[in-house]
Amino acid sequence: MTVTSTEKLFVKGNEAVAMAAIEAGCRCYFGYPITPQSDIPEYLSRELPKSGGEFLQAESEIGAINMLLGASATGVRAMTSSSGPGISLKQEGISYMAGSELPGVIIDIMRSGPGLGGIDASQADYWQATRGGGHGGYRIIVLAPASVQEMYDLTMLAFDLSDIYRMPAMVLSDSVVGQMKESIVANPRAKLALPEKNWVVRGRAEGEEQKIVKSLHLGDGEMEAFHWQMDARYHELADKECRWEEVETADAELIVTAFGSTSRIAKTAIVMAREAGMKVGLIRPISLFPFPKKAYAQLSERCKLFLDIELSTGQMIDDVRLSVARDAEVAFYGRPPGAGSLPTPEELFEQIRKNYRATA
């Protein structure tokens, strides 16, 4: 489907990811089915070949991530997607990609765990995503959409950021945003200025210098230097690429913080709180790595009470606590993932009321 139009389309979050991948120029998709993300390979198996791309169902998640590594090393835009146990299997390959400075987009539609867990919405893979996930001490770009439109927009962005910073980028979502349908405008924004991929390996023309893509650094001081170089890149990301949304924070006595699907539920709870006369706002990180620390620090200079809400027993709260002023309090409300654990706006409103105190 050609999606370059201003017409409103009514699509699933997962389909929006797949549409955006094609629009972003993804040439290769490698994956293995798992609920609740299988709409992505389903769509791409049908549509990607039409635009000249290659769809391949791998023999396993491990196969798929290593195919992503190989495709990326030749310079093409490539993507994989999975959920829960499948993302765990991919961690070795993601570590190798980070070590080889290879771009590539990984879509994680979170489901509950540990182990096989279940197919319900979860946010309990926040740590796994934002702390690197595999071995060796690395980070990847992590973006967290809260709407079907953002599933589209952030997938596009993930491809660009991944190319610019030469590291894997993950879109971290869950089965609520993946399975729900919303109206979107497939609106390809102006592409970011992308660096030339002068490092790709696809055959050596006469007289060209040899190019090597590898994650093995054995020379004296070589590995250490690589780590500091990557660290500098993470700091550059933190300076330039933090993204977040604030709602009614200017006069807030309590600021709710949540990402992805939970932030959507919280938004309605905040409307209810405002109607009940409470000054409540929201900060929603859109980039989870880099985490928008400065935005939290600034808000906490004035507002001293935060309420962190997650579909877990508390993971993002670590980053929130590291970001806010020392005298700010961070309360927590969590619903660990599983059947029947998705909170309602009414429930979150009760939590706001319980924690709220006006300073005036």
């Binding site: 609520v176 399975q179 998705l342 909170p343 706006p345």
Partner: protein, 180 residues
């Protein structure tokens, strides 16, 4: 203005198609829409439900704890969800399959429409979801019936477009029955 409607029944009653239709109709009227489905792993006969939220501005939460309108198509969903309807709200029930057993919910209007019977009288019980959509529009005025007709063209595959007139008739019959 923000509208929300919760639709529940068993798989095969067209719960998800009804939700999709209301979504397309709301988009047709320029609204922003969130459609959030939930259903069992069964191909047929399992629980099926969906929530549709539409608004001029942001739709906010796709999840609704206390819907302002619920459309309940079988006994199981009535027993489970009728009491969750928000005060001041409307609960539209398929009285062919649901015995409300004298239940009253404070400040909630219960509207009984024999949806299966009406659909059967129109020629096909599978139109029960169309009857439900008609009843919903009649009781809420949330959208125009003509928008729903336009939605049918979007939601149904081309090969089924010949069935649109029959479906529109079923919607009208549902609206008429809900008027009482």
């Amino acid at each position: 203005m923000r509208y929300d409607v919760f639709i529940a029944g068993y798989g095969g009653q067209g719960v998800l198609l009804a939700g999709n239709l209301l979504s397309y109709a709301a988009i047709h009227e320029g609204k922003n829409v969130s459609f959030f489905p939930a259903y069992g792993v069964e191909k047929r006969g399992g629980a099926a439900m969906c929530t549709v939220v539409f608004a001029d501005g942001e739709t906010g939460s796709p999840v609704v704890g206390n819907p302002s309108v619920s459309v309940l198509l079988n006994q199981l969903s009535f027993d489970k969800y009728a009491s969750k309807v928000k005060r001041g709200g409307v609960c539209i029930v398929n009285s062919t399959l649901i015995d409300i057993g004298g239940l009253t919910i404070p400040e909630v209007e219960i509207v009984q429409v024999p949806m299966n019977q009406i659909a059967l009288d129109m020629g096909d019980v599978r139109m029960v979801n169309m009857v439900a959509c008609g009843a919903y529009i009649e009781k809420t005025g949330a959208m125009q019936l003509s928008s729903l007709e336009a939605a049918l063209k979007k939601a149904l595959p081309e090969r089924n477009h010949k069935l649109i007139p029959a479906n529109v008739n079923a919607m009208n019959a549902g609206a008429k029955a809900a008027k009482g």
